[in-house]
């Protein structure tokens, strides 16, 4: 799935996007010992469970951006993820990101991200 088609959401929007491609940004909370699943917290302090299609090969911590499909049960089935570096520049402000997220959802007419991207 393409990142451009995935809607940016937080935990409270999960259930409205069942079976849809989403992009979630949050802070890694707990990694399951199996390395196949972990939980992450969004800017509002709510938690989501992320399931990976392959095992984690690295230490996962900090702010992560996950793209995937939302299952019927509200679990994020990850297709891909990437860690946002916090050792350089300004640290990522999750609360501020959440505020921006609310803006793009409150004014979809001005933020038509779902519109088809050319090519």
């Amino acid at each position: 799935m393409k990142k451009e088609e995935a809607s940016r959401i937080n935990c409270s929007m999960l259930l409205q996007h069942i079976n849809q491609a989403v992009c979630f940004v949050g802070r890694v909370s707990k990694v399951h010992p199996s390395g196949k699943t972990f939980t992450a917290v969004d800017g509002e302090g709510k938690t989501v469970t992320v399931e990976l299609n392959c095992c984690l090969e690295e230490e996962l911590s900090g702010v992560v951006e996950v793209i995937g499909l939302v299952s019927n049960k509200g679990v994020l089935m990850a297709a891909t993820y990437n860690l946002l570096r916090e050792d350089r520049g300004t640290p990522f402000d999750l609360e501020l990101y959440n505020e921006a997220l609310k803006v793009i959802h409150d004014f979809p007419q001005h933020y038509p991200f779902e519109a088809a991207v050319s090519g």
Binding site: T90, L96, A100, V103
Partner: protein, 582 residues
């Protein structure tokens, strides 16, 4: 002739007579002498206005002068207020008092038994026994008496052109210097001062002989008994003093020092919140009070008439969270001590539209540091608790704009669409833009090595460099930057010129080092420009339409640049988006 009867709502002793408020009166205020001493004209009595004269004041208000009044039903028999009277001119200042030209005392006889209702026409007219009384002889109240004991003290608020025999007790809050003039009609001199007492304030002027008589006697801050000045309608253009009248001293006027002055107030001010100054007209005279948040050093400048004058700017902030720049002049500027962020109050400051809105203390303004007034204590308390942390927004556009200048945010397309810089004066604006091109050719020039001189030197080709401005030759020079750049945002781009400081900030290197690189290491020099490209900054720019050889072009100069604080920027964007949605 028509006789109208009124209920007498209120009666207040105001020396030398009484202020009477009459129900049913088209205009409200009157002043009667004597009368109530014998409790005849008492609250709630019913009276008839027998003879009166009505004057219309300049502002439309009418004043009724009672010449003859008759009590037809004494207060005791009325037994309370009649109905529920409402003041006719709600909220109008109760300040006009007129003394009747002849006072008449009316004595009422006990009324024959009658129904207790308000007659429209006097039905049982009582016999009136009236006789003249000289007013001014007997004091109805114990008011502070003058040294001579002959006249009573009246409040400044009661002064009016219809009375000439009065005395006020007031403090001098401001005294001007002696100003002289000379014209075809001869020479003259004058001085002016402002007086304040518990009831109000008034401006006073003395001419010629009165200058000689009184000028040296008057000391600012002291209290005096002043009597028998002439009153006329005030010219409000030059003063913020709140009084419809102003006074002129004449040959009959007297001024005597007063010893017991404790309860006379120090100042009458009508402070305008700094935030409200934006809505006031330029050239208005206002009173302000605020915390002196910062103060600059004294500077000296030469006026057009080649006079040297001292000048100092300070920044004033009040509880509106707004700041304004105040300029002091002369001795006041030199003596001002802004340490400890004192409370500064200025009476009669001049509002100007310089930089948006700014204030200037003129020769007729009064500057007070930490005045002993309630507003000052309130400000101190607020500032020490919360105010010191408030960043504040300044109404005055400072040159360069950074640090306190009120930000005029524009996008680059706004600058073109709004024709900024096309007016008489240059326009300043702030924007967030990205550097998209830097012209590295001819960005450095050889400048005079003198610290205060930046003029381009002429290479003599003999190892010496000549500065025409300093009229000297030097074996060296210093490199300085003039960088031409193109900056862009989502909507448009703009060619700007960056001088030394802003150029060094964009390039991240100082001019001397860059000059060295240019001469020795071309690729390293180029690298500096590569690295600097596509950086985003908050620019503070100046634009002005300049005409050169019949060609007019907008010239934009970078006054200041700062790295973008993304968090702050995002926060302000979110706030603005939400505001737009409301």
């Amino acid at each position: 002739s028509l006789t109208i009867s009124f209920g007498l709502i209120n009666i207040l002793p105001i020396s030398p007579g009484w202020r009477v408020m009459l129900q049913n009166s088209p205009q409200v205020f009157n002043w009667l002498n004597c009368m109530a001493e014998e409790n005849i004209l008492a609250q709630n009595c019913v009276c008839v206005l027998k003879r009166h004269v009505t004057n219309v004041l300049k502002d439309g208000r009418r004043v009724v002068i009672i010449l003859e009044i008759e009590v037809i039903k004494p207060a005791g028999e009325v037994g309370g207020k009649l109905g529920d009277p409402v003041p006719y001119n709600e909220g109008k200042a109760l300040k006009y008092f007129i003394i009747p030209l002849t006072a008449q005392k009316v004595v009422s006889q006990p009324a024959p038994a009658q129904e207790n209702r308000l007659p429209l026409q006097p039905q049982n007219k009582m016999e009136v026994k009236s006789f003249n009384r000289d007013f001014g002889k007997k004091a109805p109240l114990a008011m502070p008496s003058t040294p001579g004991g002959s006249s009573k003290v009246v409040p400044i608020a009661s002064l009016n052109p219809y009375q000439s025999k009065w005395t006020i007790r007031a403090r001098v809050t401001n005294k001007s210097g002696i100003r002289t003039w000379s014209n075809s009609r001869g020479d003259g001199k004058l001085f002016s001062m402002e007086l304040v007492d518990e009831s109000g304030e008034i401006r006073v002027t003395g001419f010629n002989q009165e200058v000689d008589k009184f000028f040296s006697l008057i000391e600012v801050g002291k209290v005096y008994y002043i009597s028998k000045g002439s009153l006329k309608i005030a010219n409000k253009q030059y003063t913020s003093v709140k009084n419809d009248y102003e006074m002129t001293l004449n040959g009959e006027s007297t001024i005597l020092p007063c010893e017991e002055s404790g309860d006379v107030p120090m100042m009458q001010c009508d402070f305008v919140p700094i935030g409200d100054l934006e809505s006031r007209d330029k050239d208005a005279i206002v009173d302000v009070i605020g915390v002196c948040k910062s103060v600059d050093e004294v500077t000296r400048l030469t006026t057009k008439t080649n006079r040297e004058v001292s000048k100092r700017s300070l920044s004033l902030m009040d509880m509106s969270g707004k700041l304004v720049t105040v300029t002091l002049w002369g001795e006041e500027a030199e003596k001002f001590d802004g340490s400890g962020q004192p409370i500064v109050a200025i009476k009669g400051a001049k509002l100007s539209d310089f930089g948006g809105r700014s204030l200037s203390a003129s020769f007729s303004s009064t500057l007070m540091i930490n005045p002993d007034i309630p507003e000052a204590y309130k400000l101190r308390g607020w500032y020490d608790k919360d105010g010191h942390a408030v960043e504040g927004q300044s109404l005055t556009e400072l040159k360069g704009g950074s640090g306190g200048g009120s930000t005029n945010w524009k996008t680059l397309s706004d600058v073109k669409n709004e024709h900024l810089g096309h007016g008489e004066k240059a326009d300043y604006y702030s924007c967030i833009a990205t550097v998209v091109y830097l012209r590295k050719e001819n960005c450095l020039y050889q400048a005079c090595p003198n610290q205060d001189c930046n003029k381009k030197v002429i290479d003599q080709h003999n190892g010496m460099f000549r500065c025409e401005k300093c009229d000297k030759e030097f074996p060296n020079f210093k490199y300085r930057l003039i960088l031409s750049a193109n900056i862009a945002d989502y909507g448009d781009n703009q060619w700007v010129t960056c001088f030394q400081e802003s150029a060094e900030a964009i390039l991240g290197q100082n001019a001397a080092y860059l000059g060295q690189l240019k001469d020795s290491n071309e690729s390293a020099f180029d690298e500096v420009f590569q690295q600097a490209n596509f950086k985003t900054f908050v620019f503070r720019n100046r634009v002005k339409l300049e005409t050169y050889n019949d060609e007019s072009r907008i010239k934009a100069t970078v006054m200041d640049l700062k790295p973008v604080d993304h968090k702050d920027y995002i926060k302000s964007l979110i706030v603005n988006i939400r505001k737009l949605a409301m």
